[in-house]
């Protein structure tokens, strides 16, 4: 299945170190939060791209192997800047499953690619950037638990929902980055 990425980079046929040299260059042109798909054939890129992303602070979302092509997904990270979380109604990772089983639902506002590589079963995916135009998919009567990787995007999403008249909204902290229970994948 196709995973949504903002920019594609073709490094097929190139061998180490070129996949990373090119990825580094391409990453400079992305804005924070955008997702880069790197199409590589060099098997060495598997471990190296993940390790490189981690060393820089980008989020290495995951890899798909299609025939002989490796598709890497990396999210340019701006998460390192500390932003104060403003939305006051919060709930912890531990509480959210119980609460959701009592009629609420989990809204995952990470990018589709991140969602695809691992999310809480039953969660609904609406990336933060699409939230405003997809509000009609949400029910004001239901409790909504908004989650992202670190609590930052979900904080913004929760604020937005609140401005739009949703009252039963909670930001889930610390978020998917610290999720220890089972995940479902859609690969």
């Amino acid at each position: 299945m196709a995973i949504k990425a903002d920019v594609q980079l073709d490094v097929k046929g190139l061998t180490c170190p070129m996949p990373i040299v090119k990825t580094k260059k391409a990453m400079n042109d992305l804005t924070d939060g955008q997702i880069l798909e790197v199409q590589a054939t060099d098997k060495g890129s598997k471990a190296d791209l993940a390790a490189w992303a981690e060393s820089i602070g980008h989020l290495y979302i995951g890899i798909i192997e299609e025939d002989d092509v490796l598709l890497h997904y990396i999210r340019k990270s701006g998460d390192s800047e500390v932003v104060e979380k403003k939305f006051e109604q919060t709930i912890t990772n531990e509480e959210v499953i119980d609460r959701a089983s009592n009629g609420g639902f989990i809204l995952d506002v990470r990018e589709e690619a991140e969602f695809t590589f691992g999310h809480i079963e039953g969660a609904k995916s609406i990336p933060l950037g699409e939230l405003e135009e997809r509000l009609d998919e949400l029910d004001k009567e239901q409790e909504i638990y908004v989650i992202c990787r670190t609590g930052k995007r979900s904080d913004l999403a929760a604020q937005k929902l609140s401005q739009k008249g949703f009252t039963k909204v909670y930001n889930v902290l610390p978020g998917m980055g610290s999720w220890n229970s089972e995940l479902s994948k859609e690969l």
């Binding site: 180490c16 170190p17 990373i20 040299v21 060495g44 190296d48 390790a51 490189w52 060393s55």
Partner: protein
Amino acid sequence: MAISKMTAAQVARKAIENHELFILDVRNKDAFEDWKIEGHKFEYLNIPYFELLDGVEGILPKLPKDKDVLVVCAKEGSSIMVAEMISEVGRNVYYLEGGMKSWSMYLEPIKVSDLTGGGELYQFVRLGKGCLSYMVISEGEATIIDAVRFTEVFTNLAKEKNVQIKHVFDTHLHADHISGGRHIAEETGATYYLPPEDAEEVVFNYTPLEDGLTVSNGASKIEIGALYSPGHTIGSTSFIVDRKYLLTGDILFIDSIGRPDLAGLAEDWVGDLRETLYRRYRELAEDLIVLPAHFMTIDELNEDGTVAKGLGDLFAENHGLNIESEEEFCHTVTDNLPPQPNAYQQIRQVNMGKVTPNNDEQTEMEIGPNRCAVR
């Protein structure tokens, strides 16, 4: 300043002759921790190449000026990039030609000893992977034991010595490296032997290697006798060569013993391993020289680069031969097993003839240390 290449053969000489070398390994940290070029006097710095893309100035103070500096990566590309950067800022530097891939494949033939009637015994030391192969040569004939997949190294030595390869043995179905035995036999018309207990699933023809089988090599009939010694695999067989050398396969190493789990359950074969090491081998002459199919660390190499030690010495010093209680022995070899070798199940399939990967795929499968032992 100059950038020069160093071959795996040159690095091997430095390791064997205990020369100094400063290795700047630019692979990622996991790869380096898992497996690196070993040498007694080698020093290391591991900085992944992708952390050096913006410049090498930061690491220059860590690079010695009074030693050769060798940049190493997986295949060579990144090491050339980093070596060029280092040379641009005014330092002499080497890179490893072919990277760890070529290091994993390099084989150094070393003569162990002369044999009866002008014969010779060679040990092929694969430093990067810790594999050891053997060749007995005398009067126009050769016998090969546990050949690795680089068949031309063996056939070249046979040509150089002007001998015909007659017998090719594998002590067992290997799980850590791809055997070259069958291919050498096909190429040269030699007989290929494999223990039948290990060969139930193989899809090619072989001659059964059974306990007590004896073949002779050359006119002076250097005797190569098989001794059934299960435990690493159910078919594992040792050889006694010229009544002087004990080729132990993956049953007994210099500083460790074989692990019983790569082809089945450790619990099933631990009894066999105990029986082989504590009874069958005990019945042999202690002045036999043990020649194993692997070494784990460079400390097991003798000064001339060979891996060999008296059986009596091993009875005295090898921890795995000195565990009195059977129960404790069981625990030792089943509880603390190291991680399994890379792709070991695939490698077994290749050695059974069930799959035939291309050369690159074979190289990929064999990356990393052999991990056939337990200490």
